[in-house]
């Protein structure tokens, strides 16, 4: 352990962010990294637990707490404290192919389980991770690696989201020939267009893709498997096919007036903005919230991303509706450490909305009962009702003005055209069923991982799935595997 008493003596310090008022003028990332010296102190707060819950990914009370990648957190925290950032990198990338993604967008299940968090603030694990990987990029430590061998095994990976990329990276470095198919114009999947630039600037993805390409991974864009290329052709051309197409079917809200103009799915709204960004500034056509009363349905991270984006669009007002009650400020007794904390978190978008509009955009325990449209079919408002203990409260009906509604209510499952193409059955969760809780599907040499197998989830899970799937594919191809 770096510093035995670090957790007692030093307080948690987060990367400072630009003031809300200034950062809303652009779409760039807005955190500033601590100095190396301060970062060391943050590394030194890690207690190097005998049982590090941070990397356990245990399910408690139905929620995962701790890192699904089983990142070797205490090890790299220790290296940070000792100033060995190169070593920290090697411990970090041993379990995580893309720390630059997770350190930006992960909700940090690790910090939820951090033992330090039992008595105070958890270790700043996610930002420590960020520091390691960005330091590495800045210092040229991330370079294309040489493959020790190239086998005659060809692998097609369908989808370039985090799961597909993780699998591609591992299988490629193992020595196989990997081709990634992406239906969009650029790689990254939801990373690319589902997550706003404020959280993940897109050159971060480009930077990684360039390295993977240099290492030998082939990327083929704007090619939709099942549409542009048939499943049978793929099966014919490759020794293994990995389906990593995500689970992008958004959950809809079927209430009267749903057909009104001005109702969008959050993901479409966000990607429209991202696509319109050139050099960090909006240009061309995109779904704009400018001067609109916006109602966002869904209190999750995506809803928050929508809030932030709408702020930058200069919406007239922003309301974010959440069905669930307002969470407490601190853990309730029935939600003890190391369970994932169900506490109120005011995210960057909400913070910005408060700054701009003077009040918190969130309304809790409320759902929409009807969309109101004018005679032209254009949305003008939403009718809401309060929900207590899952039941509507009579008399609590309200009408809110709304020119734009963004539905950020999660996803229901996969888009089935790929599975159909491979004649793969879809299960009750609207995902692809694999064999023996592994990654092989019922069709010979077809594998599936990521959201497509698991259902919509976190980037960190996608990477974990991609990694594990790669190992199974290797074993399938070679009859043995030495991958860890």
């Amino acid at each position: 352990m770096g510093k035995p008493t670090g957790f007692l003596e030093d307080i948690r310090m987060d990367n400072p962010s630009l003031a809300a008022a200034s950062r809303i003028t652009h779409f760039r990332e807005f955190h500033q990294e601590l100095t190396i010296e301060k970062r060391r102190i943050q590394g030194g707060r890690c207690m190097n637990c005998g049982v590090p819950f941070c990397q356990s990914a245990m399910v408690l009370n139905g929620r995962v707490s701790g890192c699904p990648l089983h990142n070797l957190i205490p090890e790299w925290n220790d290296e940070i404290y000792h100033g060995h950032l190169g070593h920290a990198l090697s411990r970090l990338t041993k379990t995580n192919n893309f720390p630059e993604f997770t350190s930006r967008v992960c909700p940090a299940l690790c910090e939820a389980a951090c033992t330090c968090g039992q008595y105070g603030d958890p270790v700043a694990i996610r930002e420590n991770e960020y520091s390691i990987i960005e330091h590495a990029f800045a210092n040229g430590l991330i370079k294309p690696r040489k493959k020790s061998i190239t086998t005659d095994k060809k692998i097609a990976i369908v989808g370039s989201g985090p799961a597909g990329l993780a699998a591609a990276d591992r299988l490629n470095m193992r020595g196989h020939q990997v081709t990634v198919y992406e239906r969009d114009d650029k790689a990254g999947g939801l990373l690319r267009y589902g997550i706003p630039n404020m959280k993940l600037e897109k050159q971060i993805i480009d930077r990684r893709i360039a390295i993977m390409e240099a290492e030998g991974v082939k990327f083929i864009y704007q090619t939709d498997i099942g549409k542009d290329i048939s499943a049978s052709q793929l099966l014919n051309d490759y020794d293994a096919v990995l389906l990593c197409g995500g689970a992008k079917q958004p959950r809809d809200l079927q209430v009267p007036g749903r057909d009104a103009k001005g109702i969008y799915f959050a993901v479409d709204f966000l990607s429209s903005t991202t696509r319109a960004l050139k050099d960090g500034m909006l240009s061309g056509h995109y779904l704009s919230a400018k001067d609109k009363h916006v109602v966002i349905i869904g209190g999750g991270d995506t809803g928050n991303d929508c809030v932030a984006t709408c702020v930058r669009h200069h919406a007239k007002s922003i309301i974010q509706l959440e069905m669930m009650p307002e969470p407490p400020e601190t853990r309730r007794t029935d939600n003890p450490w190391p369970q994932y904390p169900n506490i109120k978190k005011t995210d960057y978008g909400q913070e910005e909305a408060i700054t701009v509009y003077g009040s918190d955009p969130r309304i809790y325990e409320t759902t929409v009962t009807e969309f109101i449209q004018n005679e032209k079919g254009k949305l003008t408002g939403v009718k809401t009702i309060q929900i207590k203990n899952g039941q509507p409260v009579p008399g609590s009906e309200k009408t809110l003005p709304a020119d734009m509604v963004l539905i950020a209510a999660g996803f229901t499952g996969i888009e089935t055209y790929i599975s159909d193409a491979f004649q793969l059955p879809v299960n009750a969760h609207q995902t692809i069923e694999t064999l023996n809780s592994g990654y092989a599907t019922s069709v010979e040499k077809v594998f599936c991982c990521g959201d497509m197998r698991r259902g919509a989830s976190l980037v960190v899970w996608a990477i974990a799935e991609g990694r594990a799937c790669a190992k199974e594919v290797d074993a399938f191809l070679m009859d043995y595997t030495n991958m860890v």
């Binding site: 819950f53 060995h84 030495n482």
Partner: protein, 1507 residues
């Protein structure tokens, strides 16, 4: 029939010894008679069986009495001629007449063939009717024979040599007959007796014509009650009190030496004699065999003893050069037979006595005015008028006492040794032939260095992990010592792990407990030696210069340069050959090993005598034989082919890196090891900036850390020299197949079967393929983290029993008293798919049983009375946690354990009082009050996490409140000795048990042992010694700090220990005498049920209750940073403590509930009926891997059947009877004192004492403590005693009680003194000078906490060891005086022995240093010496001497007082540095108007902050 876990070789014994010699060689019957009286007085040092009627063995060695034998021969019409014209043999024949006659005939034939006239047989008259049943059942037919001396052989040795040859020849062909002695000079009478039966059984000994000038007696205390007639002592030359710890290696090498030894006197007969050693004998018998062999082959007896048991010479700068050279010369040929030993030896003319280097057995002697020497384990065994005694002395460590009855004088140690030292020019010989490694030239060649890629691959091929590099190699290279860790181990045994653990991990270190003491290699460094010798051993039997032509290596962990020097050495007499231990992948391992042996044979044939086994060159196709397998296989091959002493094996390997690994390699035969990959790793750490240190310094520190670790591992077994540790094989294998053991690890204990070569190969290939992908595909070359100590989640990691899920489930179950959650928790722990432990492989047999309803099972409230919490000291855990456990256990009628740190007096008698009070080697806070407050007193002989080791509590953890409870100074570190210095053997433990029983008659006495091979026999011994509870701890339990290698590799799982103890106790009819308890990661009701079914009836839990209090297995107990406020004293962290007694209670109740459910399912209604029901257990049908399936638990599960009506659980009716009513305390003192104690009125009385009145005054003291809450004035109660005081005189007596003794006293005088006063002075009629004679024995005032002692004479070794508050004045002390002392004052008006003030961290000693040579004998690592100049000090010194004179009338004291100013400059003040600093600081703060308590706290914090 399946064997039980017991094996005959586990037996140990220890004893009482005695000798009477008339120095003038005047024979008399009185000598015999008095010797018999001595042994009769040593009853408490003898063992007996459960019935109390059969003894473990008693015997006597005397001269052949011509007056007697000529008389009996005449009656038989045999003409035996003159004195020494005949030899007498003492035979134990079989009772079967045919067999007996055959054997007799055989002896007659052999003598005839040897040209010796056979004179006749005599049936020895005996009285079998006095014997116990057991002894009578196995009594042999006892006969003597007479053999006539031929003319051509001289009387004495020459004739005895012939008799020796006859006896050896006879022994080879007659296994059923034991020859007790066959000599023309001495004879041995012995048998399975109680001490008083020897005399009566053999009427010969009572015959007044039986006259001898020499008589040696011995009473045996065996750990077992299956002793036999022949195992009794004396042997033919020696009798021995102690153990030979290194026996395995000694014997192997002795057997191998047969090939290199050429006898100058018996070469023609050598074939008849060999083998030298009878390997089925006891360690003493084998030592006797060897000694006898040397003597018969021309080595003078005293020299032979010196060769086998040398005094520690290598670190003794004071020793005469010639003597050093002699020892050095012989060291090149013979490793010490190391272990606690007091040996008496005689050839009929000379009598000698020698003590081992540590002086671990007591030996005192008197010389009387009729020139008789009386030596015994104790004084006071014969009533000799004071005026007849001219000298009282003791045998000193490593020293020899010799009486030559022919020369009619005593030969001093110095004279005897110098005579031999000057016989040959040993120094010149060494100078000419001995080669020192440091003198060899370094070849002009660059050392091989690997590139990063190769390193990375080799790491993988040899299974290196990130954890090992960061937590073992790095800290060792950085700090030069092995890192510590805490909270025990919870990963699977190697054989059960899915991770192909290295072969090293299958071997568990043995350690000393009870039957021999571990030693302190740090504080008692003067006795250790790490030198090893390499090359061909010389001919031991002939003194010649070339014999010492060997290479001397000071540190057997070699650097690259060291190895290069050896490889390149060109010296006559040496030929170095490197033998590869690599083989082609896919070759069967057995073949690879065979090839290695063949290559070695070939090299040997070509003259090589140093073989370097090397695994350099591992690549895609070449894999290495596991280094341990290679070394041990070759060692066994060399032993079998008798080349062992002509060839030395050095290992060059990438595999070893941690301490345990090196220890196994040396323990199985490597003479030196070069760990090239570990060294490469250090290079890498430096290159990459992880270690900021110069390379050679880093390697040196790393090597030093390994060496220190090995020395510690050896010292845990009581072994002081690495030379003796090598090949001693002190390990038990767990999980290795019998055939592999037999072939490659011959004689290693292995009782549960396990993997064979195939599985070992699998592991090799598994690792190799991770380094070198079979098809060359990309592999992860970074080091893996598999989470051995600190858990790691994910695939391919080690499974920990305390996983994150388990911890959370357990705490939630306990917090909410949620039994469903508890069952979920236990289902995780008991998951049969991932067994971690042997019990994990077991299941309950429910087929044949009829379940009963739960209501019929004993209630939870009853069951929890059998539950205890683990021994965790106040100090290791916080007050909050400590009290919480106590409250919880008291509320449910279970027991909490104080641990070894004492307890705050205000807790005693309240709900916060710990029911169990622990007495450990440190004796912290062990006061009369503490003991009286206990329901159970537990003697901690060993601790699961680090058996065989003491503790070291660094100063910064000794907070003021901890210091107060431990009677020490805040901020000053505390050291616990590895052994209890009053327990070096089983009969010593019996004494301590007796002491504690006296200190609190109401408490039951418990002895805590750690599971290891042979713990069953130890338990049997402990049961015989009077313990009521025996706790067998598993190796895996344990909080607190311990070296990493100890946590994982020392000791065994409790399953083996408890089963062995249960089985062995039953076999000995002792089971119902004791309560068996177990602990060590007992986590579920299932665990408890299995423990019970293997024999346990009480159960301890430590980690699990801590979890309920918030512990999350941080494993930082050693750092004082426990975030849960449990294992910390930091007030900030303690505020976080959130535990409640209810949580612990909930846990205990749910455990009991689950046990009840299991009992119901097994149809058993009472726990009592579940004990030992191993028939209801079987091995789980489906094992998960082939490796697990190879484990064979038959010997664990075999049900020992009790003989007769003995119950298989504790039966109060069968409790040990201490016969306390017979003590003087009960029979005399209490009767007189009790009314005065109750009325609180002063009183005094006088009485006579003898050595059998042990622990005098302790019961009286305990009653005073019980009745008097407040402190009494000095001398309120006084006992005036006269005579020879027994052991533990005045132990634990409290304030207000004074005992004065006129006479002398034995060991442990004033043990644990708790405020009382002890005064001892010689009888005024004595003729000797008090200040020149020994008056009290060893280990006086051990663990004293307060009080005073005035001793008018010299004390033995280890005076005031661990004293924390008593004040004492004495007139001279032996070695290791004031060792580990933490407080109090000691004034010494005379000489001290060696190693004074070792480990002393508090208190002050004033020593009169008249010769200005005290500096030579002080251990200065912690203390400083100065003149006494401070005014306060001078006053204190004067007052103490004045008190001494007042109490004892000491002439020397009076003399000093008379000339105080002249004498004062000769006084030295010895004070520990840290202690002085602390006192000064506190003083300074008090001057600044701070009150004392506040000053202590501030001083403490200022110290901690500067550290």
């Amino acid at each position: 029939m399946t064997k039980t876990l017991y094996e005959k070789r586990f037996e140990h014994d220890a004893c009482g010894i005695g000798a009477i010699v008339n120095i003038d060689g005047r024979k008399s019957h009185a000598v015999v008679d008095n010797a018999l009286s001595i042994v009769e007085k040593l009853e408490h040092r003898a063992g007996k069986d459960a019935s109390g009627k059969t003894g473990d063995g008693v015997g006597i060695l005397v001269q052949i009495s011509h007056t007697f034998f000529s008389k009996v021969a005449k009656e038989m019409h045999i003409d035996i001629g003159d004195s020494r014209d005949y030899g007498v043999g003492m035979f134990f024949f079989p009772n079967d007449r045919l067999k007996r006659n055959q054997a007799r005939k055989m002896l007659e034939l052999i003598s005839q063939k040897e040209g010796i006239v056979f004179l006749g047989w005599r049936e020895v008259p005996v009285h079998p009717e006095i014997l116990g049943q057991k002894a009578r059942d196995c009594m042999p037919k006892i006969m003597q024979c007479f053999l006539k001396r031929p003319e051509h052989l001289e009387k004495g040795l020459a004739f005895d040599r012939k008799l020796y040859a006859i006896r050896r020849e006879f022994e080879q062909s007659n296994d059923n007959t034991y020859v007790a002695s066959l000599s023309s000079r001495t004879i041995v009478y012995k048998g399975m007796f109680l001490v008083n039966q020897l005399r009566i059984f053999y009427p010969d000994l009572q015959d007044s014509d039986y006259q001898s000038a020499i008589a040696l007696v011995h009473s045996r205390f065996s750990t077992n009650t299956n002793p036999s007639w022949d195992r009794a002592h004396p042997n033919r030359f020696i009798l021995h009190n102690g153990e030979i710890n290194t026996i395995r290696g000694n014997v192997d090498r002795m057997l191998a030496r047969e090939e290199t030894m050429v006898s100058p006197v018996m070469q023609d007969e050598i074939d008849k004699i060999l083998p030298v050693v009878n390997v089925s004998g006891s360690d003493s018998a084998m030592l006797d065999n060897t000694l006898e062999f040397l003597v018969m082959n021309g080595v003078p007896l005293p020299l032979a003893v010196m060769i086998l048991i040398p005094e520690p010479w290598s670190n003794d700068i004071d020793m005469d050069r010639a003597k050093r050279d002699m020892y050095h010369y012989y060291a090149t040929m013979m490793e010490p037979w190391d272990g606690p030993a007091a040996i008496l030896f005689s050839d009929g003319d000379t009598v000698g006595a020698v003590l081992d280097r540590n002086g671990l057995r007591p030996s005192r002697y008197y010389i009387t005015d009729d020139n008789t020497l009386i030596l015994s384990s104790e004084v006071g065994v014969l009533d000799i008028p004071a005026e007849k005694i001219v000298q009282k002395s003791r045998l000193q460590p490593g020293k020899m006492l010799l009486v030559d009855t022919k020369a009619k004088r005593i030969i001093s140690d110095e004279e005897c040794k110098m005579t031999f030292a000057k016989k040959q020019p040993y120094g010149e010989w060494l100078d000419r032939y001995l080669v020192r490694l440091e003198d060899l030239p370094l070849p002009n060649k660059k050392l091989e260095k690997l590139n990063q890629k190769d390193r990375d691959r080799l790491y993988k091929a040899f299974g290196y992990t990130y954890e090992e590099v960061k937590n073992a190699i790095l800290p060792m290279a950085q700090n030069g010592s092995e890192p510590t860790a805490s909270m025990g181990t919870d990963i699977p045994l190697a054989v059960l792990s899915e991770n192909h653990q290295l072969l090293f991990n299958y071997f568990k270190q043995g350690f000393a407990q009870v039957t021999n003491p571990p030693i302190d290699a740090i504080r008692e460094k003067i006795v250790t030696d790490t030198t090893v010798y390499v090359g061909s051993d010389g001919n031991l039997l002939q003194e010649k210069a070339e014999n010492c032509r060997v290479l001397q290596i000071e540190n057997p962990i070699l650097s690259g340069n060291d190895l290069a020097k050896i490889k390149a050495m060109h010296k006559p007499g040496f030929k170095v050959e490197t033998i590869s231990i690599l083989y082609f992948k896919n070759t069967p391992l057995a073949r690879a090993i065979d090839r290695m042996c063949i290559n070695c044979d070939r090299a040997y044939a070509n003259g090589a005598n140093i073989m370097i086994l090397s695994d350099r060159g591992v690549d895609e196709n070449h894999v290495a034989i596991p280094s341990l397998l290679a070394v041990s296989a070759l060692e066994q091959h060399l032993v079998r082919t008798k080349k062992r002493t002509s060839v030395s094996v050095i290992l060059e390997s990438g595999e070893p890196r941690d301490v345990h690994q090196f220890a196994t390699l040396l323990g199985y035969g490597a003479r030196a090891v070069h760990p090239y990959l570990a060294h490469e790793c250090i290079i890498e750490l430096i290159e990459k900036g992880l270690l900021d240190k110069e390379y050679s310094a880093a390697v040196k520190d790393y090597n030093q850390a390994i060496l220190k670790g090995i020395v510690k591992i050896a010292s845990k077994m009581g072994i002081s020299t690495l030379q003796s540790y090598q090949s001693a094989q002190i390990f038990e294998a767990i999980g290795i197949k019998e055939s592999v053991i037999e072939e490659y690890f011959t004689n290693t204990v292995s009782r549960v079967g396990g993997i064979g070569l195939e599985e070992i190969s699998e592991g090799i290939e598994w690792r190799h393929s991770h380094a070198f992908d079979p098809l060359g595909l990309g592999v992860d070359t970074t080091l893996d983290s598999i989470g051995i100590h600190q858990l790691r989640s994910g695939a391919d990691k080690e499974d920990h029993m305390y996983s994150p899920e388990v911890i959370i489930a357990l705490r939630e179950a306990a917090w909410h008293n949620d039994y469903e959650k508890f069952k979920y928790y236990t289902s995780l722990v008991d998951n049969e798919k991932i067994p971690h432990t042997l019990r994990g492989l077991l299941q309950f047999n429910t087929d044949q049983v009829t379940p009963i309803p739960l209501e019929m099972v004993e209630t939870e409230e009853e069951i929890v009375k059998r539950f205890k919490t683990g021994a965790m000291s106040y100090g290791s855990i916080s007050q909050e946690a400590h009290e919480c456990l106590a409250i919880a256990m008291n509320r449910i009628g279970g027991k909490s354990n104080s641990g070894e740190g004492g307890e705050k007096p205000e807790r005693l008698g309240t709900e916060r009082n710990s029911a169990i009070k622990q007495v450990a080697s440190g004796r912290f806070g062990v006061t009369s009050e503490y003991l009286v407050s206990a329901k159970e007193i537990q003697i901690k002989m060993a601790q699961g996490a680090k058996p065989g080791e003491g503790g070291h509590l660094p100063g910064k953890k000794v907070y003021p409140w901890i210091a107060a409870t431990r009677y020490s100074t805040p901020g000053v570190s505390l050291i616990s000795p590895p052994p209890h210095h009053d327990v070096y053997s089983i009969e010593d433990l019996a004494q301590l048990i007796f002491d504690l029983k006296n200190a609190n008659q109401k408490a039951r006495i418990s002895v805590k042992l750690v599971s290891e091979a042979g713990v069953g026999t130890v338990a049997a011994g402990v049961a015989k010694a009077g313990a009521q509870v025996i706790l067998i701890s598993g190796y895996d339990g344990g909080t607190g700090a311990a070296p990493q290698s100890s946590i994982y590799h020392a000791g065994l799982p409790w399953e083996l220990g408890i089963a062995e103890a249960h089985q062995t106790l039953i076999q000995n009819g002792l089971r119902s005498r004791v309560i068996l308890e177990t602990d060590g990661k007992l986590m579920t009701g299932r665990d408890v049920a299995i423990a019970c079914m293997l024999g346990a009836e009480e159960f301890g839990f430590a980690t699990a209750p801590l979890m309920t209090l918030g512990c999350v297995m941080m494993r930082v107990c050693n750092l004082d940073t426990c975030p849960a406020g449990i294992a910390t004293q930091n007030p900030e962290l303690r505020k976080r403590f959130a535990g409640k007694p209810e949580y612990v209670i909930n846990f205990m109740m749910m455990m009991a509930r689950q046990l009840r459910e299991i009992m119901a399912s097994l149809g058993i209604s009472k726990v009592e009926d579940l004990i030992g029901r191993s028939d209801l257990l079987s091995v789980r049908d489906q094992s998960i891997t082939a490796r697990q399936a190879s484990v064979d638990l038959a010997r664990v599960l075999v049900k020992a059947n009790p003989s007769m009506q003995d119950k298989v659980h504790y039966d109060p009716l069968n409790s040990f009877d201490f016969e306390l009513e017979k003590t003087l305390d009960m029979s005399v003192l209490l009767k007189k004192f009790m009314p005065h104690i109750k009325n609180q009125t002063p009183y005094s009385c006088s009485l006579d004492v003898s050595s059998t009145n042990r622990t005098l005054g302790t019961i009286l003291g305990s009653e005073i403590t019980r009745y008097h809450q407040k402190e009494l004035p000095d001398d309120f109660y006084t006992v005036q005693a006269k005579g020879g005081g027994g052991q533990s005189f005045g132990a634990f007596i409290p304030q207000g009680l004074t005992i004065r003794l006129t006479g002398d006293s034995n060991d442990y005088f004033g043990k644990g003194l708790s405020g009382g006063k002890l005064v001892i002075a010689p009888d005024p009629k004595s003729r000797f000078k008090a200040e020149e004679n020994i008056i009290i024995g060893n280990v006086a005032l051990y663990g004293a906490t307060s009080g005073k002692a005035f001793i008018n004479g010299i004390a033995g070794e280890r005076f005031a060891v661990r004293n924390s508050g008593a004040v004492a004045v004495v007139e001279g002390v032996g070695d290791h005086g004031c060792e580990y002392m933490t407080g109090g004052r000691v004034v010494i008006l005379g000489r001290t022995g060696k190693n004074f003030a070792a480990g002393m961290s508090g208190g002050i000693a004033y020593v009169l240093d008249q010769d200005h040579d005290l500096y030579l004998r002080i251990n200065k690592s912690m203390v400083s010496m100065s003149d006494v100049t401070n005014k306060q000090d001078i006053t204190e010194l004067y007052d103490l001497i004045a008190s001494h004179v007042q109490e004892t009338h000491s002439p020397k004291g009076q003399d000093i007082l008379n000339h105080f100013t002249e004498v004062l400059p000769y006084f030295k003040k010895i004070i520990p540095d840290d202690y002085r600093q602390m006192l000064e600081k506190i003083n300074e703060l008090e001057q600044g108007m701070m009150d004392h308590e506040e000053a202590k706290l501030s001083a403490f914090y200022s110290l901690v902050n500067t550290q």
